[in-house]
Each structure stands twice: as C-alpha cells, then as structure tokens.
Symmetry: C2
Subunit: 125 residues, 2 copies
C-alpha cells in the first residue's frame, strides 16, 4: 500500500474540508492546517475540482468545499482521482501462477476497505 505524497496530501485536504463548517475554505488555510506546500496544494485541489470532488469559488471569501456530503465520498474516490486507476494484469507463467491470486486477494481487501470508508467516518471517529 504505497501512497505518493500527492495522494496523501489530497486525502488530508479533503479531510480538512469534511471537518470544516459549511462554506468555502481557502487553500491557504488547508495548507497551514496540514503542512502542505501551498503551490503544490493548489495543484492538487485543481485536480480534485476537475474530478468533481470539490467545488470552488474565487475572490475574497473564496475557497473550496466538498461537492457532495462527506458521507458520500470514499477514500477510494480521492485516491482514484489522484493516483489514477491501476492497471493490473498478471502474466505469471507456470508454477508462479498462484502468486497472482495472492495479489488479487490483497487488492480486493484493499479495495473493499477504501471504498467503504468515507470522510464522514474519518473526521468523526
């Protein structure tokens, strides 16, 4: 379960939005709260917006907020956007073939967890 810094930042940013009271949260606030490099965060939030995870508003009192209720956004939703769907295929010849089933089992377990946990659960443990 390797997650890039970018992905972890994205998850933390969304957590921050999920925990915030309604209304736009400026990127600056998120950056400070989660110790994320400001410019990099911009970049990530842009990606999340394009994917429809968050909405945004420019100008004073602008910022970002969740496009859906936190209970409807799973960890997998965010990871998929930032990390991209992993193409998995196994060409394991002969005796090594059973290895592929181990990866499948692991991947499924991972998938199940990540699609079950929402940000509502994260911010209210």
């Amino acid at each position: 379960m390797r997650l890039s810094a970018r992905t972890q930042y994205a998850l933390r940013a969304v957590s921050e939005l999920a925990a915030a009271p309604p209304g736009p949260v400026p990127a600056e606030r998120i950056a400070l709260a989660q110790h994320i490099p400001r410019r990099f965060l911009d970049n990530i939030l842009l990606q999340l917006r394009r994917a429809g995870i968050v909405h945004s508003l420019r100008g004073p009192d602008g910022g970002y907020w969740l496009a859906r209720p936190a209970a409807d956004i799973t960890l997998a939703d965010v990871i998929d956007v930032v990390e991209g769907r992993p193409e998995y295929q196994a060409d394991y010849p002969g005796v090594a073939q059973p290895l592929a089933e181990v990866w499948n089992a692991l991947r499924e377990h991972e998938e199940r967890l990540l699609t079950e946990i929402t940000f509502a659960q994260i911010v209210r443990p």
Copy 2:
C-alpha cells in the same frame, strides 16, 4: 500493494526453485521459464544469495537452489530482501489523524498474509 518488476521477478524465481527437483537450477532455465531478462535475473539472484535465501554453485551443472525448505520461506522473506523494509511514519495533523489508522490496518493485513504464505503453498495449490 505495489510491487516493482524486480520484486515480482524475485518471487517468480524463488517459485521456480521451489518447484524444481533437488539440485542446482541454472539462471538461464529460470529466465526462460519465467520470461525474465537474463542479466537482470543474475542481479536479483545475487541479492537473494547474499540474503541467504538461496545457495549457488558455479561452473557446469552449477546453478541456484533454496537455502531452506520451501515451506520455511514466506513471500515476505523475499519481498523484504528485494524491496527493503518500508519505513512507515505518519505525521497527520489534526482531523486527518484517523487516516493513519486506516493505513495501519491495511499494512497489518498485508503483513499477515505475506508472512503466512510460503512457497510450498505457492507451488502446490
């Protein structure tokens, strides 16, 4: 659960050794059976030998074999050698803190599976 090509090759090579009758198996044979670039495989087998996973013998009729019974070598044993132990640490401020526990849960499940499955199980499913 991201595994580098190197790691997957290592696991497949060990599987091949686990499935072979007693006696040295030349790298060439493994490379052919598993479609692994020959030189690269050399490299990997060297690492496995240094880690004490396999033994080797040079010269004609030389090759590699498992240092221990296949039932005593787990997937984790090989992965740890090739991939190196992952340093995990989480500095998840504030509301994002619960994320860390999700990673822990995933990592533990992964760990459990990988340390339980041996190459004896892989080659005799």
